[in-house]
Amino acid sequence: MSVPRPADRPRAAPTVEIVDRRCFTVVSAGRTYGLPVEHIHTVFEMTAVTPVPLAPPAVLGLINLRGKIVTAVSLRRRLRADASEPDGSRIAVGIDYRNENFALVVDEVGDVLTLEKAAAIAMPPHLGAEGVPIEAVYRLEGLILPILDLEWVLTFGKERS
């Protein structure tokens, strides 16, 4: 089931300037993160999830998204690197990345923001301390927004099960 969202429109608008970037905000475990908007194509509510035995802990399972099989990844588990972290959320962001279809499961979805280059701030040194690589940090009104590195989010250890 698809919820109409600002992100549910065609990919990156042609007017994007090189200096500014657009990102999509999501909330996981009470914190707001930005995701690069280019790879996001839909936001939807998950129904049936087929668990994948022996899969990396971040993988919640497989879902049928309009006839396509996508891999559901829990952002919560990914950020905490904790396999036992329960993730009861049903809200997922459809992402096409490296020719693979993912559904990133988050607690809440926000808006598409246009980030001006001027708002970028130096990376606070303690930000990567939890082992979560942050691509960039932006200062917005009332919010410091870290942009997640999708490459990292969607690369999960294969050795654990």
């Binding site: 087929t50 035995p53 993988v59 099989i69 693979e100």
Partner: protein
Amino acid sequence: MDELLNDFLAETSEHLEAAATQLVMFETDPSNAAIVSSIFRLVHTIKGTCGFLGLTRLEALTHAAEAVIGRLRDGRAATPEMVSLILAAVDRIKLILTSIEADAAEPPGDDAALIGELEAQLDAVEFGEAAEAARLEPMLASAPIPFAAPATPSTGDVAKRSETIRVDVSSLERIMVLVSELVLTRNQLLEIHRRKEDEAVKAPMQRLSSLTSDLQDSVMRARMQPLSRLFSRLPRLIRELAVETRKKLTLVIDGGETELDRQLIEVVRDPLTHILRNAADHGIELPAERLAAGKPEAGTVRISASHEAGYIAVSIADDGRGLDIERIKDKALARGLVAAADVDDLQPEQVYRFIFLPEFSTAAVVTSISGRGVGLDVVRENIETIGGSINVTSTLGKGTSFNLKIPLTLAIAPSLIVEAGQQRFALPQQSVVEAIGLGEGSSHRVEHVQGAMVLRLREAVVPLVDLHDTFGLPRDAARARLAVVMRFGALSFAVLVDSVADVQEIVVKPLGASLAHLSMFSGHTILGDGSVVLILDPVGLARSHGLTQSLELGVQHIPERFIPPREQTRLVLFRAGGGALKVVPLSLISRIESATGAIGVSDGMLVMQHRGFLMPLLTLNGGGTVEDAADHPVLVLGIGGESVGLVVDEILDIVEDFLDIEIASGSPGVIGSARIARDVVEVIDTSHFVKLARPDALARGIVSRFSVLLVDDRLFFRDMLAPLLAAAGYRVTTAQSGRDALFLLSQGAVFHAIVTDTDMPDMDGYSLTREIKRDPRNANLPVIALAANTAPIIGEAAAASGMCGVVGKFDRAALIAMLRDNLDVQTLGPHGLEERIIREFAA
């Protein structure tokens, strides 16, 4: 029409079509380098091929045209005359091609006028450069005959051609994907309809259903191609092979009209070629040999294809010398792939399977044709990746036949939908033999042996894989249980599930890259009700449980098995540690004691007084307390004067029976499972317990003599030194190259010392040693160099590469002495133990 010519025409017309737009652009923009070089390539390709096919007229024309286009490509400015000449040449090429298509031959007449004009252009561009013109001079002499348009197509071949169109493969693939989706949607609808029957919908529903099936069928058919496409290249290959091998070869092809999915045709191409090369190279004898054997001089390779139920069978049979089963056995033994004890029990079918292992070639001579590393293992792998199978049958002196089974298509597979722990999985039906109920009253029994489950299936015992355990799924005791028996080549195993939910045709979709490492799944699919299920990969499943290896490779793990084969063994049958009954050969037990009184704990280990010495006591599951052991029977394993006691619950019997390990074990302490009388029993690996209690004893090679690997490329030295070493009390394995030696080590073979020739082709002894020493586990493995002489420089090189010494090749005494010195470092006690073991072996 000749298949090659046909291919050429089809390809060329495709190229010409593609070039059509470029030609138009060329007209308007003749200086565009990209377009010019693309047209150049087109003409060049045609020229190359038609020379090969003997189309001289076309060759002359394309040659001249190519020269002119070549000038343009080199950066000459194009004149309008040149452009129109080139276009005229291309038109003429098309006309000639059309005519060839109709008559399978070049039309009469020549193109001297056109060629002359082309030459003139060349001359105009490059003053006096008329080398080409001179060559073409004779043609200019004949009068230019204008090209006659081909008459109406006359042959049936042409009529057929006019009815076919070439479709881009990708658009066919696209249709296939859409049809697959349609099938899924249809299934979904059917599912809904089944739950909520509606008379009004019923008829159209059925119609939709059958139409979809028909559509699916038609699209599949459209992707099908006759195998003759593949076979058409083989006669040429055989001709080449005949020349190369100096043999007389005849190729007989049957069933070329059999159709196969085009994707699969591509996959089958290489294996087929490889097997054919093998047949020509190794299978068929030289003409003289054949005559001597009373066979016709020319060897025949027969390739036949036929459509069987659900798959295509292709066999490649030669009437050559056949596989030498003894040689394969020898090689397998030398490689350590099978224990000497087992080798005679192997069925021919099992022996032949060895030839599909990596780097397993019995060819004595490596020729340019085969034996270059790409072996039958790759063939087997290719075939198995597409869900097919390969086996070989052979009669010595009569010939060999490779039989391939290839699924009709990859895209859609009939599958069993099974349920385990409330989750559904798809199991490809192709490998399913039967499903067996295990509920109350079932005649088939599941038994737990050495921590693993086996299924007693009529006469056989097959390993049983429990999906609940494998995947950590919740178990529902109330559910009926089913064992789905699968067969894979020579391997049978069963999968334990709760139930079979359905049988469905599923569209196999590969797993995404981030899950592709899960080898137990071959893909996923969407079922009729819209849910996603994972497709189980029987091969991956078997492999992850260690099942394929032991069956494919004979015996994979090297640990010694000192159970005499095929003669009755006296066995102590006892109960210990729960689970199945256990046995141990009586010959390994020196006494049976009772653990009374004098039990204590020393250094964390249970010990008891035994003949005035302390003897370590072990239980089957390790550890144990004094209470556990008290008053229990103890099997005393007498190993070279040092004893180890094995505490058991109850000694039941001493039986005499054939001891055949039916399932090799992966767990420590157990050799495997066997059937004794009517019971499945575990055969205990005593060496494991000795290792636990007396680690030093094992380091000395309790269960075997020291094992020495002798590496020399020359048979003479291997034959000379191996018996010498054996006589000195070592167990000798030989390898004829560094590569073979490394292979043995990589397979887990254990050697206590390596003796290697220094001067070998391919990989010398020094490099071999460095390679061996790269593995830190081999740091203390003594490597002794064999050299023609013991010059100081050799000694230095040997030391530098990690060898422990050099001996002359003919200096037997020095070799034995050096081996003993180096191995004595590992020895902690006297040799009495080894001598006793040798005596036991001899007995």
